[in-house]
């Protein structure tokens, strides 16, 4: 920390703080034209000059980028500073006499009529004042360099390459938004928004947060969703060896730092959504493949996302980042979903380790957890369409059927497969351990499309924050969040800007988990886009209408009832003794405190079985509460009344519901 004095006021600041920032803390305003907190200080306009006395001499410096490294004395309003600013403004005013922001500053310094005639005078009120904000924003925020400066001195101007229109520009409006004079116009928006200014207002808020807060929050711009690996491991939620455990001593190998430092290219925009200021779809460039048809080639890998890291890593008992990368690449190449691959392989591996599969049945592959070679060979078999890999490639639901049919299995083994096969509605679970969160068991089990967290992600709210203790609380969360989160899908929007970056004041709001500042943003976005004003309640209703319609649709196809909302026990509690004992303290405690169970003298087996009974009952109770909250009947079917309330009592809907009521 350094003690400095600005205009006679003392303040203590961290080393490398700029004078401009230090002055802000003292509420001292220093004029600046080319400065914004979201881009690096450029030092071009020179308006922010101040006098600095470092003990040896006084010099005039720009406060926006002068780093405080020792105890200095700063004067922001000395006579020569004022005179200099006045002259700078006189020069600017002579060249751009009608630009508001210059006129405003000039008036403060009593400059109204310049004493010289500028040979390049531009009378437009939207003149470009060469501040460089647009160029720097495109470069630093969007990681594109679509505009830049050409020429020098009096011919300096902002252009696209070769002064032609460059169609890499997608109209993200970052430059137009940051321009202080309105010199950049948005043209030709094929989406024809009703009120583009309003959209830009809220969009730029999120963009600013992205630049200013993301690095210390989730670092989406640096590593994307990969940042979750270490968090999940720390909180015992990292799916390890087919969801048996939630952490592993070797999980450090999959820490996002490893990927960031060694593999992931930094500072490049991604191709997911051109113009996105989060740009979280990371890539690894120039990776040399070790196996498969492209062995030896240096390739670009689109990833790795958290799900791939967890699924094709820890869940398979593998903690080698390069395995994850290679699996990522080949899954993409073969058109295989990495989650289904990882969770499916984990199932097969546990089957192998428990005698349901053996070398004969797998065609010689040793399907042990941690076997990287087998992991990739099975993937290549899937790709080629031959070998045991083809069976694994059909997914857990079909694997269970096939194994039961083909192999001579005992009843116990078949039940075991039921318990450990992490699929719901035929879709493999995504990569979070739900064992200790009833709300999240519901989040996965009750999701319309299968076991994925698109609808609800409640583990922390439930398990760690303990914010939804009762069934009703959980049911309320399982109403609001699925409705809110699926709204993004309806609109064709990514939901990550909603919750993977947060406004600085989010903590102080009433319901920080909902990120109300951003909800407001999206409500405004919809209204400004369509011209139809909605509020946050209508937003939920929009989603609720479609959601219920989808449920009826499922039902019409023969699904969509309580039976199909069932979950494998591995997702709700410890299946094996080993699992029970790995968290014995926690389970014992719950048995005693929640259900008054006397654990004295009981074996792990007995305790496990009792726990299971209680937890399975709890899940059904959760379903009861959720169906009620959603306005569905006890079997999980939407009632006609509910559909009427939602104004979704369409003839085809009523036809289905009436038939079965």
């Amino acid at each position: 920390m350094k003690d400095i004095i600005i205009d006679g006021k003392k303040i203590s600041v961290k080393e490398e703080t700029t004078i401009l920032d230090a002055a802000k803390e003292l509420n001292i305003e220093i004029p600046a034209l080319c400065h914004r907190p979201t881009v690096e200080a450029y030092g071009a306009c020179r308006l922010c000059v101040v006098d600095v006395n470092d003990g040896r001499k006084t010099r005039m410096v720009t406060s926006c980028n002068y780093p405080i490294r020792k105890s200095i004395e700063v004067n922001t309003q000395s006579e020569r500073v004022r005179k200099t600013r006045g002259m700078l403004l006189e020069m600017m005013l002579s060249r751009w006499p009608n630009v508001d922001v210059i006129k405003q500053f000039a008036a403060e310094y009593k400059v109204t009529k310049p004493r010289f005639i500028h040979p390049l005078v531009d009378y437009s009120s939207n003149a470009c004042i060469l501040c460089g904000l647009c160029v720097n924003a495109c470069s630093e925020i969007m990681w594109e360099d679509i505009i830049g400066f050409a020429g020098r001195g009096e011919s300096r101007r902002v252009v696209m390459p070769f002064e032609k229109h460059y169609d890499a520009c997608v109209g993200c409006s970052t430059c137009a938004n940051i321009c202080p004079t309105g010199a950049i116009k948005m043209i030709d928006d094929p989406n024809q928004p009703a009120d583009s200014k309003r959209i830009m207002k809220y969009g730029s808020k999120i963009a600013d947060e992205m630049v200013l807060m993301d690095e210390e929050q989730c670092d989406m711009r640096g590593v994307g969703t990969a940042h979750l690996a270490q968090i999940m491991n720390d909180y015992d939620l990292f799916p390890t060896c087919n969801y048996k455990f939630g952490s592993h001593k070797d999980a450090g190998g999959l820490h996002s730092d490893v990927f960031k430092q060694k593999y992931i290219t930094q500072g490049l925009p991604d191709g997911c959504w051109l113009g996105c200021s989060m740009s979280c779809a990371k890539t690894v460039e120039g990776y040399e493949l070790k196996t498969g048809p492209y062995k030896g080639d240096k390739v670009l890998i689109d990833g790795p996302e958290y799900e791939t890291i967890a699924g094709c890593g820890a869940n398979m008992g593998i903690f080698n980042p390069e395995f994850v990368l290679e699996a990522n690449f080949y899954c993409d190449t073969y058109g295989i979903d990495t989650i289904s691959f990882g969770t499916g392989m984990a199932f097969a591996m546990e089957c192998y380790e428990n005698g349901i599969l053996n070398k004969e049945r797998t065609g010689g592959m040793e399907f042990n957890f941690g076997n990287e070679e087998v992991g990739l060979e099975a993937l290549h078999q899937m790709g080629r369409g031959e070998g045991f890999g083809v069976i694994v490639g059909q997914g857990i639901r079909r694997m269970k059927q096939i194994f039961a049919e083909k192999f001579d299995l005992t009843k116990k083994q078949i039940k075991f497969m039921q318990d450990i096969g992490m699929e719901a509605k035929g879709m493999e679970y995504s990569e979070y351990v739900t064992k200790e969160s009833l709300a999240m068991q519901g989040g996965y089990g009750l999701a319309l499309k299968g076991a994925q967290h698109d609808e609800a992600w409640l583990i922390f709210m439930d398990m760690v924050n303990n914010q939804i203790p009762t069934f009703e609380d959980k049911a309320e969360a399982l109403h609001y969040f699925p409705m809110f989160r699926t709204w993004f899908g309806l609109m064709g929007l990514c939901k990550l800007p909603w919750n993977d970056v947060e406004p600085a004041d989010n903590a102080e709001t009433d319901e920080p988990a909902k990120v109300p500042g951003h909800v407001e943003g999206y409500v405004n976005f919809f209204s400004a886009m369509t011209g139809k004003e909605i509020d946050k309640h209508e937003l939920i209703l929009q989603s609720e209408r479609v959601y219920n319609f989808q449920r009826v649709f499922n039902y019409r196809l023969g699904f969509g009832t309580r039976e199909h909302d069932s979950i494998p026990y591995r997702s709700a509690g410890p299946v094996t003794i080993e699992e029970y004992e790995s968290r014995a303290e926690r389970y014992d405690k719950q048995l005693v405190e929640k259900w008054d169970y006397d654990i004295k003298g009981k074996t792990s087996e007995e305790k496990r079985d009792y726990l299971r009974k209680m937890r399975e009952a709890d899940y059904q109770k959760l379903c009861d509460a959720v169906y009620k909250r959603r306005g569905w009947n006890e079997n999980g079917i939407p009632t006609i009344q509910k559909m009427k309330e939602l104004k979704m009592d369409l003839p085809e809907v009523l036809a289905v519901l009436k038939k079965n009521n």
Binding site: L228, Y235, P512, A513
Partner: protein, 67 residues
């Protein structure tokens, strides 16, 4: 034995217990936290300063919604 409640969990109370101490004991490594003690919001800059009294109701809300 004096205790405090952290997200509904019982934790042994100690003298000079600050938020950072509690975070350490609970192994809360996640960065985006909202901390309230007896309903009052505690700013990050105060994590090392405010001493937590016995029987306090401490809420350490993790703001994470998964990806």
């Amino acid at each position: 034995m004096k205790t405090i409640s952290v997200n509904g969990n019982s934790l042994k109370w100690e003298q000079n217990m600050t938020i950072n101490v509690i975070i350490g004991k609970m192994n809360y490594t996640f960065k985006m936290l909202v901390v309230k003690v007896n309903g009052e919001l505690i700013k990050k800059t105060e994590y090392d300063m405010i001493i937590i009294p016995a029987a306090a109701d401490v809420r350490i809300i993790h703001l994470i919604s998964g990806g």
